[in-house]
Symmetry: D3
Subunit: 132 residues, 6 copies
């Protein structure tokens, strides 16, 4: 259950419908996932967030699958259940295979372990790592 | 300043020196960064962590630079200052250019924003995302 | 399901019942929510926490609804599902309307985005922000 | 020290200068704080983030000072040193007095305590809090 | 539901079965909990993690129950639902009584409160706490 | 630098001085660490927090050193620099030796690794762990 209502197409205003229409056209599907239905509480934020997502997640200097790996990694450390499910599904849709998934998990686990150790020990940053 | 001592090669015992030697040989440098010097408080953990790091961060189904992006993403969400400095330096050493860095930041920022929104709204996971 | 038992009024000892009675009188309702029933495992902590909550959340230099916004913001960043549900309900009970809820979400999303970016880039604090 | 370069006006391209100019005009000051100088690594993201910040932090259904309280609360739970300094300064500039600061801290502390307790005990959400 | 499949003994390969067999022998039970079944997606990581867990959680300079308290404390602050359930069960199995559980919760709550306050106020570290 | 002023004994009001006096008497030292000087911005919260700290951290069903281990574990996962320094110093003062420190770090590192993995995989809680 959400702390907000999920707004379906039928009850949405014109601004929200325009975003839903663009999500459907861009993704070539009728399906609108719950994140956008919840965000529609604030139509201006829905528009901004969808515009950002289209711009940021498109392939560029970094390819689209790698961007999903980065998204999953942030969502893991931020403990976002919904985001982990939706972006693991997106990574699979963009071609992630089992071997890549296994290595992704290994790096995420390793990073959590060393993050925890470094923080507990408050290790000082080596001068050589500093950007001049 | 750290909450533990940093153990230099000269004062290290044989088990610690063996790891330091392998770090130097693997990386083809004399430099040992502070993380390992701090971890040397527990020689068994130093050995395990270095062995894991070598295995996990090596190129495999995911290439070495992408693994650094994943590491940075976890470290960002975990707020690990040392890890962000050391792995941003590692990503540069492995070829990250400015355009990639800019897109990495954009994805990390986007993921934090949507993680925060999804969590606040407690959006329920769509059935279609669930692994059967 | 909880990792502790929920202690109902009927089985509670005198110290716990005294707190439950005060919660009921203060809120003018018979309802005791699960947080207090779980906390009753430690009667002394139940007393302290309820006393603190009454003192801290009462209107003062900051009004009661704004205090709920602050509570929700902390709970969002701390990923506390129960707290988000209970304090979003409390904010509604104290008069939060949909326009305020939408702006609350926008600020929380914005703050998460810039927190993530600032941390990844390890931006140094400007001198002008420092308290002399 | 940052993990990225800080880009000064003199070396900025036209897109970045346009944002810097708007920041200066909007805030009626020549000062550009480090966050924007770091974000300028990615001019498109700089533009989006500044546009979002102007829209989101402007007074609306929630006043500008309350929005700073919400920002500080998120930044506290997200452990963002820079954000805490810059937004505490912003809150003071928008009129936060010592009594309000003291109560803000009290609510943030209280929320952290109960977030931690609720999470450890995994308290189930009461039905009454659920949005139908 | 998980974002990965849970791998049962019947479908596991020889490497995974060897770990499952060792878990069963070490714990003197046929039960394999879901964490290991999920981790079996990556047999090498399953092996490493189980070997680490056996080494790290065994009684040594710190007894086994105290190690569970530490584990629960980390899992609470990291908001790990599964970990809180599994390690609270483990602590009970190792002898944690209700009085200890109540005090564990009190310390975890106290630490969250002061962590939140210290971070919000960005309190500088006293010289006397620094390791020379 | 803090986001608040540190209030010294000489400028403190009577309520704050009473707490400072009790800290000095309880700890048998003239030293007041910065946390209390920052918290003195809100005398009522200073009183409550000190009273709670005395009650919660005193030896009971769990001994005083183990309570410091729990505090350090929470502070590590919450990334609280000040808390890590002050409570590592407190643990040493209460008798923590190097072997215990090394094992404490190993458990904290292990917990972070498995917390990260469990969360990424969204492992469902086994029925056997649930409190009936």
């Amino acid at each position: 259950m959400a702390t907000t209502r999920l707004i379906e197409y039928a009850e949405a205003n014109a601004a929200v419908r325009a975003v839903y229409d663009d999500i459907r056209a861009t993704r070539n599907t009728d399906f609108i996932n719950n994140f956008w239905k919840a965000l529609a509480l604030n139509p201006a934020q829905l528009e901004r967030t969808w515009a950002d997502a289209k711009a940021v997640m498109a392939p560029g200097a970094i390819d689209a699958l790698t961007k999903e790996f980065i998204y999953i990694a942030v969502s893991a450390a931020n403990k976002c259940e919904y985001c982990l499910h939706s972006h693991t599904a997106a990574a699979r849709a963009k071609g992630m295979n089992e071997a890549q998934h296994a290595e992704l998990l290994a790096v995420i686990g390793m990073a959590h372990a060393t993050n925890g150790l470094v923080t507990t020990m408050q290790v000082p940053v080596d001068d050589v790592f500093k950007v001049s």
